[in-house]
């Protein structure tokens, strides 16, 4: 971080004056301030408030009294919460893995000029353009037992005999499929951009050296793509982990995720406000840990290092 190292050359006492005394720098801070203020007020302050709430027996109507970790124990013993947790984890792992593999395959495949490339790119963007909620409504209509084409085909070919919308297992599989349909294109795009930055000469050199396709892929492509891969994976993982729209609308509240558990607790039921809040904090902490894992352990760079 060159800015920081440049500044540390100055005397310690001087930095405050340097930062805020210089009109140009002051302007910069003024310009950044509104965004920061909004973010802190609307996002971070409520999280603190949420943590406080989770330690009390408040309801939506009024502030309650301090009850320590009671809400958390209740939450961890609630079968709905555990179901939501397991669904969310399965959903996240499976859909991100599928999206990555398929997305990478697509990116590799279309990383060259061919006829109809524009059409393919357009087709790739169509699922992405859908509001998640609309996609959920659409797919629900297709899974529906009476008017749904997919249910019909699945029953007719004897793949599935149960109504898809009744079985929690099938619903989870369906949700994963819909998410893969919707988001793989986006993954593919990100990875494609990463691929296109790799200069062709590198491959030429490798081929001259006698490397075959597999070796070229694992020794050249993947390492050079690492940055883009990590960014894509992190965003998708956290997106999947927070899944709410898809589950709520497509399964008509039947399928539980961590986020739907929170929503049900704080907005639908009257007595589950406490565990709902505890779950909010749980999601926040675990999401933070996941991000930390990617950044520290997997070595993802945040885009701030640029001067």
């Amino acid at each position: 971080m060159s800015v920081a190292s440049a500044s540390t050359e100055k005397k310690r006492r001087g930095w405050f004056k340097e930062e805020f005394g210089d009109p140009e720098r002051r302007t910069a801070y003024y310009m950044v301030l509104p965004s920061l203020l909004i973010i802190v007020i609307i996002a971070f302050f409520p999280i603190l408030y949420g943590i406080v709430l989770s330690l009390t027996d408040s309801t939506i109507a009024g502030f309650g009294s301090f009850v320590g970790l009671e809400n958390y124990t209740e939450m961890f013993q609630d079968p709905d919460f555990l179901e939501g947790l397991s669904n969310t984890v399965i959903f996240t792992v499976v859909s991100v893995a599928l999206e990555f593999i398929i997305g990478l395959g697509i990116a590799l495949a279309i990383n060259r000029a061919f006829r109809g490339r524009g059409l393919v790119r357009a087709a790739v963007l169509v699922p992405w353009a859908f509001p998640t909620v609309i996609a959920a409504v659409m797919w629900r209509l297709m899974f529906q037992s009476q008017v749904g084409i997919i249910q019909y085909v699945a029953s007719a070919t004897d793949i599935i005999s149960d109504p898809i919308l009744s079985s929690r297992t099938l619903l989870l599989i369906a949700a994963i499929l819909v998410d893969v349909w919707k988001t793989t294109p986006f993954m593919a795009l990100l990875l494609l951009a990463g691929l296109q930055v790799i200069p062709g000469e590198v491959y030429e050199a490798a081929r001259v050296d006698g490397a075959n396709v597999t070796q070229r892929f694992f020794r050249i492509t993947l390492p050079l793509l690492k940055g883009a891969i990590l960014v894509a994976l992190l965003f998708r993982t956290l997106d999947a982990y927070r899944v709410y729209d898809l589950f709520w609308v497509m399964s008509n509240r039947e399928l539980q995720s961590l986020s739907t558990y929170v929503y049900e607790g704080v907005r639908i039921s009257q007595l589950q406000f406490g565990p709902g809040n505890a779950a909010s904090v749980f999601i926040f902490v675990t999401a933070f840990l996941i991000a930390l894992f990617f950044i520290r352990v997997l070595g993802m760079r945040t885009s701030a290092e640029e001067e």
Partner: protein
Amino acid sequence: MASATTTGRTSGRGTLGTVLFYVFLVIFVLVSVFPLLWIFKMSIVSKTELFASPPTILPHTPTSAEYAQIFSDPAFQQALVNSTIISAVTTVICLFFGSLTAYAIARMRFRFKSPIMTLILAISFFPAVAIIAPLFIQYSQVGLINTYASVIITDTVFALPLTIWLLVAFFRELPVDLEDAAKVDGATTIQAFRKVIVPLAAPGVFTTAILTFIFAWNEFLFANTFLLDQATQPVTVAIPNFATVYTVDYGAQAAAAVVVTVPLVILVLIFQRRIVSGLTAGAVKG
């Protein structure tokens, strides 16, 4: 934007490879587009055909009754208006604050840039569901529940990282000494701004505006939590609830889904180059 030249590495695939490749592409395109086509078909058939078993592939009894119904439905019209207002205002506000911030980060020097960027980035990882309860309570206390403001403010916060990220990437592309060069040529600052910076930055800002608008348009969680009736609910909340007291109208839902999605799809298709370059610029250069 990465160029569209070939970087073909694997050569000599042969005819079989090419055929397989194109088959794969066709399947891929079909899978991407099929749901939209199917729902469109559902929206133009009569109610009885809708429930036909086995389902028909091509419409036997096409009708525009569903579209007539939803377009004359004041609730749907209101939902469209609500979505447009919320998305537009959110976009404007995001561009305003976001461009200030992005410009500062991209073009100016100051000490806490890195922590600030991290903080902003953290919002895109932020589980929004974690704050709906505290926000609901706070908004109730100031009487913002069931007003556009509650959703606009919250959407702005969550759209800002995207806006800032994109604008930073675009601003970084502008030549560093552009402003100074223009002034050396005798332009006043305002002229330099208008004639040099704006034209160059416009495409970036425009793309950012589109992506931010789409983000706000698609938002569901906050709208569902803070907006309680038809006067304020956007299409994302209204369409899944297309219901009378007794039944859900599948044909109308399908029609509404088509109406809401097709403009977005057209928008995305027209501006696909810009959008793709915008989305990937940050990822690659970051």
